[in-house]
């Protein structure tokens, strides 16, 4: 339920997806307004990662429509590349390119996709590395960094394409507890700067602090969506209550 009269950034209507015979996403309807921050949670296998991966076509949906910033996702490669260059994604396992330095990881796409001159791309990359607070690691290789640092590089790499939307696929799930905070801090800063964000995460503190809306998914369906206070304090659906009691009980 995005605020009225806001620009719609992502519009998903009646979207279905199957993995083989397995119906993984069922009748998904979701509107995301510009600058809106959404946290998606749910038990594993509920389709939450698949949902955000459909938005930049890392997964192909089979029925329904997905429109990102006015461009409809289809088999048309031009549209796909257009959308991908506007939608950044941060993965659970970082997926940095291990054979390139941190700086090269960040400048690769601007140089080869956006055709930005190398000098300019490097300046931009250094700006973003500064913003995720690791400017001093620019010339190291990903394998030389800690998990938290790698994830922050991954965020900077996505930001270097100056996306309109950022997707986060369980960005802190592969991190040691002491590194989760440094990544969340960067994400909070990003959220406060007005980025449109869809975050698959179980970091309920983060959801509470920055989300405009929390979505609960189970069995491939959106079960419930509400602003965080409402979502956490007054869950409606039985499955939501059960899920919240499981993750908040300790």
């Amino acid at each position: 339920m995005p605020p009225d009269n806001a620009d719609i950034m992502i519009n998903i209507t009646a979207m279905h997806k199957w993995f083989g015979a397995f119906h993984v996403l069922k009748d998904i309807n979701l509107e995301v307004a510009e600058r809106e921050r959404i946290v998606i949670c749910g038990p594993s296998g509920s389709g939450k990662s698949t949902l955000i991966r459909c938005i930049n076509r890392l997964e192909v949906h089979q029925r329904g429509t997905i429109v990102v910033d006015g461009t409809a996702l289809s088999g048309n490669l031009k549209n796909v590349e257009q959308i991908r260059s506007e939608v950044g994604i941060v993965f659970q396992h970082f997926n940095l390119f291990p054979h390139l330095t941190v700086l090269e990881n960040c400048t690769l796409a601007p140089i080869w996709v956006r055709k930005t001159p190398k000098k300019e791309a490097e300046a931009l990359a250094r700006d973003y590395l500064e913003r995720v607070q690791i400017p001093e690691q620019a010339d190291k290789f990903p394998g030389q960094l800690s998990g938290g640092q790698q994830q922050r590089v991954a965020i900077a790499r996505s930001l270097c394409m100056q996306p309109k939307v950022m997707l986060f696929d369980e960005p802190t799930s592969a991190l040691d507890p002491e590194m989760i905070k440094e990544v969340l801090d960067v994400m909070i800063e990003l959220a406060e700067s007005g980025m449109t964000m869809l975050v698959v995460s179980h970091e309920m503190g983060f959801a509470n602090r920055v989300a405009d809306r929390v979505i609960f998914m189970d069995g491939g369906e959106i079960i419930e969506q509400n602003p965080p206070e409402e979502f956490f304090n007054n869950p409606q659906n039985e499955r939501t209550k059960l899920f919240l009691s499981q993750i908040l009980s300790h």
Binding site: N56, L58, E81, R84, S85, V87, G88, I89, F91, H93, N95, L96, F97, P98, H99, L108, A109, W112, V113, K140, F141, P142, G143, Q144, R157, S158, M161
Partner: protein, 375 residues
Amino acid sequence: MTGPVTTPRSYPPGQYPNLPPPRGTTGLSGWLRANLFSSTANTILTLVFTGLLVEFLMAAVDWFFLGSVIDARSRVECRQTGSGACWAVIAIRVEQFTYGFYPLAERWRPNFAFVLLFVALAPVLFDRTPYRRQMMIFSLAYPFIAAWLIHGGLGLKIVDTHLYGGFLLTLIVGVTGIVASLPLGIGLALGRQSRLLSIRLICICFIEFMRGVPLIALLFVASTMLNYFLPPGTSFNLLVRVLIMVTLFASAYVAEVLRGGLQAIPLGQIEAADALGLSYWKTTWLITLPQALKISIPGIVNTFIALYKDTTLVVIIGLLDPLGIGRAVLADAKWTGLSTEIYLFCALFFFVSCFAMSRYSLWLEKRLNTNYLSE
């Protein structure tokens, strides 16, 4: 029980200093103890092996150097003056071993091409070569320059390919095979993973055929049967045919080694590249291929070393590689019976080349290793 055990000196929690390791566990004595004298069995093995090594080395030094003869006209003369190796045969025939029957007056040409080979290889092999970009242009032109120098034409006297022999021939076949089979192998490996069924089928058939047939059979095909398939009257140089066959043969192996490397790359790498908007070709060129090549270095170099040694098979179809020359020399009545010296000499040449390749691959693996934690 009489209360807690007390240590002579205790530290407040968190203040315990880093102590030096126990004596004899580090440095030379630690290494010796760990590697040579770690147990009774190891100590006995070390002593026995050292004894055998000394015995063998003394005999070898005697045969190779002390008792060997370099200056003689024939095997008989050798045996009169020394008890060891008769290196005279090598000393007298060394030029034949090197050039085959390449005309004496023109030998500066292959020599020059050989020197230029290193200039051309430097920027390709070493990424810190000064002026690498400019030198790469020379590297690209080198195959043509070398072909012109060695074969002739355009002002140089043409030297027919049947005169090439010895190490020169090995280098021509080996280097051409290695340099040409790498890009071809990359193409085949990518083709084998293509989404287009026809391309995939062509690559699979080619690779499986080449790997399923012995190189000798292919060389025979090159030397005899190719004539049946070509229109009558076309003469196609035998050496060129051999080069093509060796290259195709090696490229199938390179492709398979590289396929292993490509499959070892996590799907997440390709997803990340996709998500950044990189196209298939950019992803291949910038992300998958560099990583796959790096993983495949040991296997690819292994293939190249095998190819390099397999060049000796050309002797079967009548080309005079070093072993062919060796056989010819042995047929000379003056030198019969010196097969040990001759084959050891050839072995030394192959060993030096292959060992260099092996060391280079180790160096390159280290150079490309980005997965260490720096200080």
